[in-house]
């Protein structure tokens, strides 16, 4: 058995810490910043962690934003998530809604849009192959990026 003093201490601890927790969760939620730090892609072939800050940051590889966010080139409107323009699955002849915000559907009917998987694979592997750094794609290299 515990004393009344110990019981009151436990009640006090529970109430005060609950208040602190509510304040912390409400006032300091873990939200994604405007420019991502890291992005975790949950794919059917395991997760892939992309370190956005290291690729884009001055202390990292100092890539230009438009090296990856390539369309429209030089326009801040290009600073969106890859999947905004490259959907998970692309039906033939279908254009993502994002394209139709600026383009007439008929004008871009014959413009091929890569699916997100193809776009990311191409974007990552082309760049790594060009600079000969980091994981390079070949027949047995899935597990160099994918945590399978």
């Amino acid at each position: 058995m515990t004393s009344k003093k110990q019981l009151l201490f436990a009640y006090g601890l529970a109430i005060h810490l609950l208040l602190v927790a509510i304040i912390c969760y409400a006032a300091f939620p873990v939200t994604a910043p405007a420019e991502p730090v890291r992005i975790m892609y949950q794919t059917t072939a395991g997760k892939v962690l992309f370190d956005h800050a290291t690729h884009a940051g001055a202390t990292g590889y100092s890539l230009s934003c438009f090296d990856c966010h390539h369309h429209p080139m030089g326009d801040q409107n290009a600073m969106t998530s890859c999947s905004e323009c490259h959907p998970a699955a692309v039906e033939e002849g279908e254009q993502p809604l994002t394209c139709l915000n600026c383009h007439n559907g008929k004008d871009i009917r014959d413009t091929p849009i890569l699916s997100r998987t193809d776009a990311l694979h191409k974007g990552c592997t082309d760049c790594h192959a060009e600079f000969e750094k980091g994981p390079v794609m070949d027949a047995n290299s899935c597990s160099r990026c994918h945590v399978i």
Binding site: T2, S3, A10, L17, V20, C24, F28, P33, P36, A53
Partner: protein, 321 residues
């Protein structure tokens, strides 16, 4: 094992030395605080939120269960608060509130109260709660996925070293310095990364007699030796033993989880066997098993062996194994 002279009983009157469960709980809580504070320093207010919510809800779950089961109120003994703190220390700072509340429910209610409360639990409630969470809600306990929005400028790597080892092999973590890892400069649980603080807390508990050094040392020595054997067999596939000691849940497991009173043995050889088995299983799961960190499942398995190793003669006094 107690020295024989402490078992000699003289005639009454007796004098209680003032020790008890609240003393044990609050001293253990105090010993764990430096590591938890290191986590708050690394991850900020979100980590504080997880720790406070975990301690608070653990106390409230125990209080609720005491009321429902019409048993004496036991929250005053501090054990629920300790369970809450240790559970929070294993979680990432990004853990949503409902994961924390569910985790304390699993630890307090499923892990302890349904077995009759403190002393009756066959498994360490903290480990049981976290293991269920990691199986059921793996993404929320995945440090790499959960902590994507945190910046770790002071760390040599912004990925969980034990996950990187599992996925990409020892070469991916070869640039990490063991001292940095030991000082907590690694991605991981709120209170499980700062090895220096955990060891300090563990040594304090050992010297005060709240935990037994035999379990901790056997666990750590066993992790070191089995990891060294793997490393000697194939250094390209298996990391050096020191890496296993300073990453994942190894240190918090050795000092704060495997040593839990109810689920660990009491005599010398059983404690050594129990700890050594835990270390071997940890390395086996990490090196050739499916899970990233083997500590949780290794401790659950050695908890299962506890009644068995307690039967080794001389049998543990007062344990109904």
């Amino acid at each position: 094992m107690n020295p024989k002279k402490t078992l000699l009983v003289s005639h009454a009157p007796f004098w209680h030395d003032g020790g008890g469960i609240p003393e044990r709980s609050y001293h253990t809580l105090l010993a764990a605080l430096p590591a938890a504070c290191a986590g708050i320093a690394f991850y900020g207010a979100p980590a504080l939120g997880v720790i406070c919510l975990s301690i608070s809800t653990a106390i409230l779950w125990e209080l609720l269960m005491n009321r429902i089961m019409r048993r004496p109120i036991t929250v005053g003994d501090g054990n629920a608060a300790l369970v809450g703190l240790l559970l929070a220390m294993l979680l990432p700072a990004s853990a949503p509130w409902w994961v924390v509340v569910l985790g304390t429910f699993l630890a307090i209610v499923i892990g302890m109260q349904i077995f009759g409360g403190i002393g009756g639990n066959p498994f360490n409630p903290v480990v049981l709660g976290t293991a269920i969470l990691s199986v059921a809600y793996g993404r929320h306990l995945d440090f790499d996925a959960g902590l994507v929005n945190f910046t770790f400028t002071a760390f040599a790597s912004s990925t969980d070293p034990i996950s990187a080892l599992k996925a990409f092999g020892p070469e991916a973590v070869s640039h990490l310095r063991y001292l940095d890892l030991f000082l907590g400069k690694q991605v991981g649980g709120i209170g499980s990364t700062c090895g220096a603080a955990i060891v300090l807390g563990g040594i304090y508990l050992i010297f005060r007699g709240f935990i037994r050094w035999e379990i901790s040392i056997a666990f750590l020595a066993s992790v070191y030796l089995s990891a060294a054997l793997f490393n000697m067999a194939d250094p390209t596939r298996f990391a050096p033993p020191l890496f296993h000691l300073v990453t994942g849940y190894t240190l918090i497991g050795a000092f704060f989880l495997a040593t839990e009173n109810s689920s660990s043995p009491v005599n010398l050889f059983p404690m050594l066997i129990y700890g050594a088995l835990g270390g071997v299983l940890t390395v086996l799961i990490r090196n050739i098993g499916a899970y990233t960190d083997g500590v949780l499942f290794a401790i659950l398995v050695i908890n299962l062996t506890n009644p068995l190793v307690d039967k080794i003669r001389p049998r543990a006094i007062g344990k109904a194994a």
